[in-house]
């Protein structure tokens, strides 16, 4: 059984890009920390604790982007039966959990210092928590669902992605104490300059993880295909191997 004869079943980019991205992140992350803590002024009202903003906001952006990616990939999976899209939706869905955990940890720390309470039941906090729960359900369904539930999980991801704009507008619909989205727009240039390296580093890290997970999923799909081909066209069925 030589599946390796088909040259790199999982594509070239998923092989060499993650190490490059991880290397980039390894350089950019310390640089951004130095930049944030040593070369950026301390915010007047909130003090040093505002520094967490440089990690909280990029993580939130990345989580949103991943949730939307997962939803779109799942829609493509449903429409075209694309295995690639399915792999992408799995990888992105799982990373929503990881980045979402980052957002949900950094947010309350910031909130505790600024508002005096870690969790204020503010609409955007709640919606982010709900989005995280939706994707947790997605991962649970992918992992524990019976055969055939991958399409159901895809539908779940599409619903989850549709929740993203609702989350975004939740701030405007319910008037809340969360800093409005304009905060980012009116940032002084110095703070913007410190935000980009952090965003870049976290993006590179997330993208590397996404590609690694994508490669794993596509390897698994290729292995499944190979087993199907082997069972259907192979010389003799070997049950003891297939059962594993």
């Amino acid at each position: 059984m030589t599946t390796s004869s088909t040259p790199s079943a999982t594509g070239g980019a998923t092989r060499w890009l993650p190490p490059v991205l991880l290397l980039g992140a390894a350089v950019a992350l310390p640089y951004s920390v130095q930049r944030i803590f040593l070369h950026t002024a301390i915010e007047k009202k909130m003090g040093t604790v505002q520094k967490i903003f440089y990690f909280h906001v990029p993580l939130a952006w990345i989580m949103m982007a991943l949730a939307i990616t997962c939803g779109i990939a799942a829609a493509v999976q449903l429409r075209n039966r694309s295995r690639k899209a399915e792999a992408l939706s799995i990888a992105a869905g799982e990373l929503v959990l990881v980045t979402g955990l980052g957002v949900l940890l950094t947010g309350p720390i910031w909130g505790h210092a600024t508002w005096g309470r870690a969790w204020t039941w503010d609409a955007r906090q709640v919606s982010t928590g709900l989005l995280w729960l939706v994707f947790a359900a997605f991962v649970l369904l992918r992992r524990y669902g019976a055969a055939g539930s991958e399409r159901l999980a895809a539908a779940l991801a599409v619903f989850g992605a549709v929740d993203v704009p609702i989350i975004y507008y939740a701030v405007k619909i319910w008037k809340t104490t969360h800093p409005t989205t304009d905060v980012v727009g009116t940032l002084p240039p110095q703070m913007w300059a410190a935000l980009w390296p952090a965003l870049g580093a976290l993006m590179a890290l997330t993208l590397a993880l996404l590609l690694v997970r994508l490669g794993q999923e596509r390897d698994a799909a290729a292995l499944d295909d190979a087993w199907i081909a082997f069972d259907e066209g192979g010389p003799e069925p070997r049950a003891e191997k297939g059962a594993g």
């Binding site: 019976a146 055969a147 399409r151 599409v158 549709v162």
Partner: protein, 275 residues
């Protein structure tokens, strides 16, 4: 270990129907949905299983609420009553949806229905109508009972039209999502436990809108109609999305069945190697 998508329906090959939905008349879809719903309702009328169990469950939940929150001060009632109403609806809804599709699964009839020359969207709307009828019926039990138990909820009697609109709109959002996922789980051979795992996070935005609107109704908030409009918008989004996803989730998209190109290549290679 993933199994090919086609195996979801036990290897049954369902003919893809590209473009049929565009060609058929909307009236036909409605008629088919009505026929399917009528069939379910007729079956329901014979033993009343769904209606009686759901109503009994509602009653039990109400008794629990009455015992737990008997001496709630008026200010707290405004906050608690919406929660009680929509939690009870969510529980009854999950129960009803599970039961509706369990019934199909026991006799393996969902697969039969899917092979009928019926629009799949009609199946969705037929099931939605039945579950909606049961859940709204339980809501119609809940609202007056809550109004009797908690004086603040007397608004439900004073403004019946608004209360009914609120109940129906909230239940539509819940059942529209629930019908899709309950149907999906029913075809994916078992594990109905996952329905609550999926359903509660997914329907929570709709339930939050319903909660906010209910509180606005209880408080006599001037923005009640705005909230109701937003709830209706959520309904519309959920309905469109769920009816669009129903066919891909239950039978897969219209691309021809069969192994993937890679599997076919691989098989050809294996066959070529054979002596």
């Amino acid at each position: 270990m993933s199994v090919p998508a086609d195996a979801a329906l036990g290897g049954l090959v369902l003919a893809p129907r590209r473009g049929r939905a565009h060609a058929t008349n909307r009236a036909v879809v409605f008629r088919q949905a009505w026929l399917l719903a009528r069939n379910d309702l007729r079956q329901e009328l014979r033993d009343l299983e769904l209606v009686l169990t759901a109503a009994f469950f509602t009653l039990v939940v109400l008794v629990m609420f009455a015992l737990a929150f008997a001496a709630l001060p008026a200010a707290a009632q405004v906050l608690a009553v919406p929660g009680m109403l929509w939690l009870a609806v969510a529980f009854v809804g999950a129960l009803t949806l599970t039961r509706i599709f369990d019934r199909e699964r026991e006799a393996d009839t969902l697969r039969a229905v899917l092979t009928w020359p019926v629009e799949r969207v009609a199946i969705y709307f037929g099931k939605l109508a039945v579950s909606l009828l049961v859940v709204v019926g339980c809501g119609a039990l809940l609202m007056p009972a809550l109004a009797l138990l908690f004086p603040t909820a007397g608004v439900f009697f004073e403004r019946p039209l608004e209360a009914i609109a609120l109940l129906v709109l909230g239940c539509v959002a819940y059942c529209a999502t629930g019908t899709l996922f309950a149907a999906g789980l029913a075809t994916a051979s078992g594990k109905n436990v996952l329905l609550s795992v999926i359903l509660y996070p997914l329907t929570s935005p709709a339930l939050i809108f319903a909660l906010v609107s209910t509180r606005a109704l209880l408080e006599g908030h001037p923005q009640f109609s705005t909230y109701l409009g937003q709830l209706a918008a959520v309904d519309l989004v959920v309905l469109v999305l769920a009816s669009w996803l129903f066919e891909p989730v239950l039978v897969g998209s219209q691309r021809p069945h069969g192994p993937s190109p890679r599997a076919r290549r691989e098989r050809a290679r294996v066959q070529a190697e054979r002596p």
